[in-house]
Amino acid sequence: MSSSKQALARAASSAEAAPGSTPGAARGARGRGAPADADSWRSRLYRWDMKASPYAFVAPFFLLFGAFSLVPLLYTAWYSLHNVQLSALDHQTWAGLDNYRNLLSSDFFWNALKNTFSIGVISTVPQLLAALALAHLLNYKLRGSTVWRVVMLTPYATSVAAATLVFTLLYSWDGGMVNWFLDFFGVGPVNWRESDWGSQFAVSSIVIWRWTGYNALIYLAAMQAIPADLYESAAIDGANRWQQFRHVTIPQLRPTILFTVVVSTIGATQLFGEPLLFGGVSGSKGGSEHQYQTLGLYMYDQGWIIGNLGKASAIAWSMFLILLIIAAVNLLLTRRLRKSQ
């Protein structure tokens, strides 16, 4: 992260240092010699090409990105201040902050916020710990190291929908693989669909299964960038493997760990597909008691099942505000981290 920020700063300063014509263009024009008519036309064309082409190259990206990502972001804010019903799309009336007031006084909103948080914690913490352990193992010299890595990444190839359909069957009450397996250990059948913690754990396990290998590869990449002499000097100081992991690997990985925490938090905030499909036919409710209805699910439910798109927009913007708060906290943490180093 820090290297990309430095690169950014460099890019920004170089942009300021380039007012209009560039050395390359001047050299090209001078090389032509006599200012004949055809040549000056050509050098003018050349200079125009130099000036305009960067904008032409970034234009398709920014036009498409702006039209379908940035503009909708602002429109969502606009619609969140309106009364927009799915059944009467053309009839939009100003609502002020009604949608937000409505949310803050709704038990379902707070319930969804609470569920998003608890499922986020249950899915992120074990996932990143397992990924760290897995990366540590993959960092040894292994026979067939590429095969191991690809195998760990296969859950990532499985879509949310496919994975959730399979896990739903694995977690079924009667005849499900998980309850059958638990029975060997004398653990009674768990109602993974209806119980509060059971259902949240089941939904989280899908997230953990899909993303652990991916995060392990990110940690592995960072581990391989740690200079070998750090380990050598630790070994000379008499540190055993665990102490090396604890006192060399972990501190060196801190920026990467922070990065994965942020990315996983963003993923957890928008969690949607897993609880939707885990719920089956009435999926958008997140269980009979809304026990695993997340914010993403609540937004879909209010917008496209209930049909209140204005309220759905307000939920989307609440998610955005939560992410902004997380980003601010992250920035603070990074600063403190850098200061302590």
């Binding site: 290297s3 990309s4 690169a7 950014l8 890019a11 920004a12 300021e16 380039a18 090389g31 130099m50 398709p60 990206f61 498409l64 379908f68 990502s69 940035l70 969502t76 619609y79 193992l137 960092n139 040894y140 190291s145 590429t146 690809v150 195998v151 760990m152 990444l153 859950p155 190839a157 499985t158 879509s159 929908a161 496919a162 994975a163 359909l165 739903t168 694995l170 059958w180 299964w209 991916y214 590869l217 990110i218 990449a221 960072a222 391989q224 960038a225 200079p227 750090l230 380990y231 942020v262 939707l276 499909l277 999926g283 993403g296 937004m299 496209w304 989307a316 998610m319 955005f320 980003a327």
Partner: protein, 294 residues
């Protein structure tokens, strides 16, 4: 940034990637045992999907659950293909993910090149904007997109899911980070002195230099587009589904037969599993490369 970090994905994990690696210790038997457990957990649900897809709905409700293949695989695959619309869905998903991949790779390379090597006003600010918006959830766009698409009378048509995904901020940033290192500035200047136009430079200098990263970005984008869920299930329905929309219909009781549902999950995942089998090394390299750059 050391050369290890810049190694092309083809080489990561190979000898060169290992040279600067922190640990050269050989793995002991315990490491292999634990890794095998991780591998089993990764693969077991997929293998079990195939087992369940070869059974009957009735058998899947019984205890103990089946642990080996039955004889109904092709019957269930057929049902998923025809009744659950997986056939149409696969064709649609190939069109959607293919278009998105080509456009993302092309436009990301152009923009990434401009950000990496060309000087223009506001380039730093624009790049910052690109990175800053990389993490906005899709939920922030779907309400306006839905309203626009229904205004245009496009609901349930493929362009509704293609258009909003034609570029990604990640792709542009990924290509920029790669080209900053992989494309020598002298090469561009030499071409300029020879009087090459910018378009010629892109075609003859930038694209050849960017090819390995373009391939990796293409693979990552295809996986992402194939698995995209939220917007497709809002924009499309079972009449004209992508794979994820068809799987969503299966999950909400469109065909209430668990064996057929598992066959659908298997079919919908199969193309990506094949891609992982063929290009797993490149995909792993791309993720590890993107990690260091991020």
């Amino acid at each position: 940034m050391t050369t290890t970090e810049l190694t092309l994905p083809r080489k990561t994990g190979g000898r060169r990637g290992r040279m600067g690696a922190g640990k050269q210790l050989h793995a002991g038997p315990v490491t292999y045992v634990v890794l095998t457990v991780f591998a089993l957990v990764s693969l077991a649900p997929l293998v079990w999907t195939a087992i369940a897809a070869s059974r009957t709905d009735h058998r899947l409700a019984e205890t103990p659950p089946p642990l080996w293949f039955g004889g109904n695989l092709f019957k269930n695959l057929q049902a998923a293909w025809d009744e659950a619309g997986l056939g149409t869905a696969m064709v649609n998903s190939v069109i959607v993910a293919g278009t998105i991949t080509v456009s993302t790779v092309l436009f990301s390379t152009l923009a990434g090149f401009a950000f990496a090597k060309l000087r223009f006003r506001f380039s730093g600010l624009l790049l910052l904007l690109t990175i800053g918006t990389m993490m906005i959830p899709p939920q922030l766009a779907v309400v306006p997109l839905y309203l626009w698409m229904s205004d245009l009378g496009w609901s349930n048509q493929l362009q509704t899911v293609v258009l909003p995904s034609l570029v990604t901020a990640f792709g542009t940033f990924f290509m920029r980070q790669y080209l900053v290192q992989a494309l020598p500035t002298e090469l561009i200047e030499a071409a300029r002195v020879d009087g090459a136009s910018s378009l010629r430079i892109v075609w003859h200098v930038v694209f050849p230099a960017a090819r390995p990263a373009m391939a990796v970005l293409g693979l990552l984008t295809f996986v992402f587009a194939w698995n995209d869920f939220l917007w497709p299930i809002i924009a499309l329905n079972q009449q004209n589904p992508t794979v994820q929309v068809a799987l969503n219909s299966l999950g909400t009781g469109y065909v209430p037969d668990q064996a057929v549902i598992m066959a659908g999950a298997l079919l919908g995942t199969l193309p990506l599993l094949v891609a992982f089998l063929l290009f797993g090394k490149q995909i792993v390299g791309g993720i590890m490369q993107g990690a260091i750059k991020g």
